[in-house]
Structures are given as structure tokens and as C-alpha cells.
């Protein structure tokens, strides 16, 4: 990767890992969408999706960079020594290993993404939290059960898949002796 891209990716990661998701959603919807009048972000769902994507992308970029560093130039050279083209080496050797190393991290990132999406109701996106609040508000209801149900739904959405990815990835990493790179 060229140096200048490296810097761009670095800055992107640092910025979007540093901003709380809620601030990002409000900023993009109210600030960029309604304030500056950028048409796509006047739409609450689009604004929320974009805000979630920006933050998640920063995390995923970090996860994949660590994974690629763990594999290193050596595997590439070994592949090229057999006569594989650069593209073949990337798809047959680098990518499969990158995914295995990245999987446990991607599992937690997926959970985080689902959980962060719960902020979207604040700008009116009709998600689980939105409907929970609606149910509680009209007619006024004891909030214990609706919030409990919402929590249960989030667990249902995150726990099985995240746990499966984590277990599969960790087992595979151990079996194959793969590790993330430092730095």
C-alpha cells in the first residue's frame, strides 16, 4: 500500500474510532443532513446507516490490517515462487488466511454494530428501540417488560452469530497456528 493511502486510512481509523456513535448519528442527520442541507442525509435511515458504516468501517479496517500484517510478505513470496500471479496469490493465499485471523474480531464488531444501531431511534428510524418506546408511550405502560423484550431481541440478534464466529475463528486460528501482527 502506498504511503499516502496509509496516512488517509490511518486518519480515518483514528477519527471514527474516537467519535461516540450517538454523536456521529446526530451530527450526520441534524448537522450535515438538515443543517447543511445535504439531501441524502435528510433521510433518517440513510443518515443512520452512513454513520454506523463509517464507524464500523474504521474498526473493520483496523481488524483487517492487523490480520494482513500477521500473514506478512512471506506467504506472498512463497506463493509467487510457485509461479502464481499477484492476483492469484492474493485470492488463494492471502485472503483466506486474512479472514480466518479476522473472524473473532469481526464477530465482536458485528455485535457492536447491532448494538450501536439502537441509537438510530433518536432521529426517528423505526427500529427495535423506536417501537419499544412507542409501545411504552401509547397507552402508558409499565416499561419493564418492553425493555426486557428489546434486550432479549438484541441478544438474539448478536449472541448466536457472534459466538459462533468467535469460536470458529479461534479454533481455526489455533489449529493453523495463525496470529495477528503487532503494531
Amino acid at each position: 500500500m502506498g504511503k499516502q493511502y496509509q496516512i488517509i486510512v490511518d486518519v480515518y481509523e483514528k477519527i471514527f474510532r474516537g467519535i461516540p456513535e450517538l454523536v456521529l448519528i446526530l451530527f450526520i442527520y441534524f448537522g450535515v443532513g438538515l443543517g447543511l442541507g445535504f439531501p441524502p442525509f435528510k433521510h433518517a435511515f440513510t443518515a443512520a446507516t452512513f454513520a454506523l458504516g463509517l464507524r464500523s468501517g474504521a474498526h473493520q479496517s483496523q481488524i483487517f490490517r492487523g490480520a494482513i500484517r500477521g500473514i506478512g510478505e512471506e506467504q506472498m513470496m512463497a506463493a509467487r515462487s510457485l509461479g502464481l500471479s499477484r492476483l492469484q496469490a492474493i485470492f488463494r493465499v492471502m485472503v483466506p488466511q486474512t479472514f480466518i485471523i479476522a473472524t473473532p474480531g469481526l464477530g465482536s464488531e458485528y455485535s457492536l454494530l447491532v448494538k450501536d444501531s439502537s441509537y438510530a431511534f433518536i432521529i426517528g428510524v423505526p427500529d427495535i428501540m423506536f417501537w419499544t418506546n412507542r409501545v411504552i408511550a401509547t397507552p402508558p405502560l409499565d416499561p419493564v417488560f418492553p425493555y426486557f423484550a428489546a434486550a432479549f431481541l438484541y441478544i438474539l440478534l448478536t449472541f448466536p452469530l457472534a459466538t459462533y464466529l468467535d469460536m470458529w475463528g479461534s479454533r481455526k486460528k489455533k489449529q493453523l497456528g495463525l496470529q495477528e501482527g503487532e503494531g
Binding site: A78, R80, L82, L84, R92, Q97, G177
Partner: protein, 266 residues
Amino acid sequence: MGEQKKEAVGTPGGRRIADIILECRNLWKIYGKIVAVKDVSLEVKEGDIKLIFGPSGSGKSTLARCLAMLTTPTKGDVFLMGECLTKPGVDLNKARAKIGFVFQHIWLFHHLSALGNIELGLRRVLKLPKNEAREQAIQALKEVKMEEWANHFPAQLSGGQQQRVGIARALAMSPEIIILDEPTSALDPELTGEVIDTLRDLAKKGTTMLVISHEMPFAREVADEMIFLDEGMIVERGQPELFFTKPSSERARRFMARLIKLTRRE
């Protein structure tokens, strides 16, 4: 045209060009301020076993990688079967497929089984159909006595077993030459024997090889020529007996003395 080309790359002395498998002429590799390889010329003929040795950092790996075009030389030319690889427009993937390479730190593909490691090149580079690739891969594993471990992943094998798979991976492509960069130096002493035995078998079969190694008994036994490299340069070259009895350069003499002392102590 073909005749002319042969003449153009022919060596003086009238030796037939077809005999030379791999050759470099006035090869240099410079990393910033470091001159890793300095004006090296050598040729490996069919069936030859060349052994390169020298202190750590003397440029052995760099030279080997330049010969296999895994790194691009700064200056000078590399020829494979008379074809110049250092000019623009050469299909380097095709050339690399004909040069087997075994790495010091082995570098098997972690995510593939022993068999998968070998099949990759057979299928994707030589484009063999699935069953044929499998057959050849198993044959290669047999040659290094690893067929029983075909379905194990690299992490499940000992260092010596991994390196034998590494050799099989190179061998399976039916290369014109195999370059081995210190194939035993990363292994525990008790595991070097099995790899050296494998190399001995290859030598007996007449495999063309360029081996970087400090296994002196092995060198003495199989090498046609030994090349002593220091500070990127060929300091001395000749038949093994020359080095074991009376190396003419002071540097080679001292290095040999140290190696032999080390071997005795073990």
C-alpha cells in the same frame, strides 16, 4: 534467429548452451546504502549441485532470490535456459514456475494441508485437472516420505516434516532447478538429519540444485562446486576438496576453520 540467440548467450569455450539451466552475469542488488550482492556471476548446469556458503549477512539469500526473480536485481542479468529474465516483457510467473524455491523459514501456506500446499501450484499454475494434480502431489509427498501426513496442516507437523513438505512443494512443479536457501538452519539439530537425507536422495537422482548450506559433511559429499560468499562477493570458488584442504583466501580459510570446529563440537 534461434541459432543466433544461442550464439548470443553462449559461453566462450564452446560448451553447449542447452546445458546451462540457470545463470547470472554481473549481478548486483543494492538496498539503499547496503550492497547486498556485488557483481556476482555464476552458472548452474544440468545435474549440477552448487553449494553457496558464507557468513550471515553476506548476501546469500538475496542472491538466491534474485536468481529466482523473487526480487529484482539492481543491475546485471539472469538467464533461465538461455532466456534473459531481466529484460522487460518477460513472463516472470512462467519462469518462476520452472525454478523451485525452498525457504529458510519454510513458509508453507498455513491454511492448506500438506497436500493442499502442493496442489495449489499444480492446479493454478500448471492448470492440471483435479485428479491429476492430486496424483502428482501424492507422488511428490512420497518422494520426501511424507505421504502419510498428506492431510495434516503445517502447524501439526514438526519443523523437519514441514521442510520436507516445502521441498515436495517445489519438487512437484517439475522445475528445471531447485534453489534451497538454508533449508536446515531454522530446524532443531535433531531434525536436520531427515531433511539432509531428503536432499541426498534428490542429489542421487541427478536433480539440478543450488543449495545454500553450512552442512559441511553434506557439502563435501554432494557438491560439484562450492562458492564462498562474503560481503556480497564471490571470494573463492572450487571443488569441495579445495575448501576442506587448502582454501587460498584467508577469509575462506578462517570461515572454514570456524565451521569445522563448530561441527566437531556438536
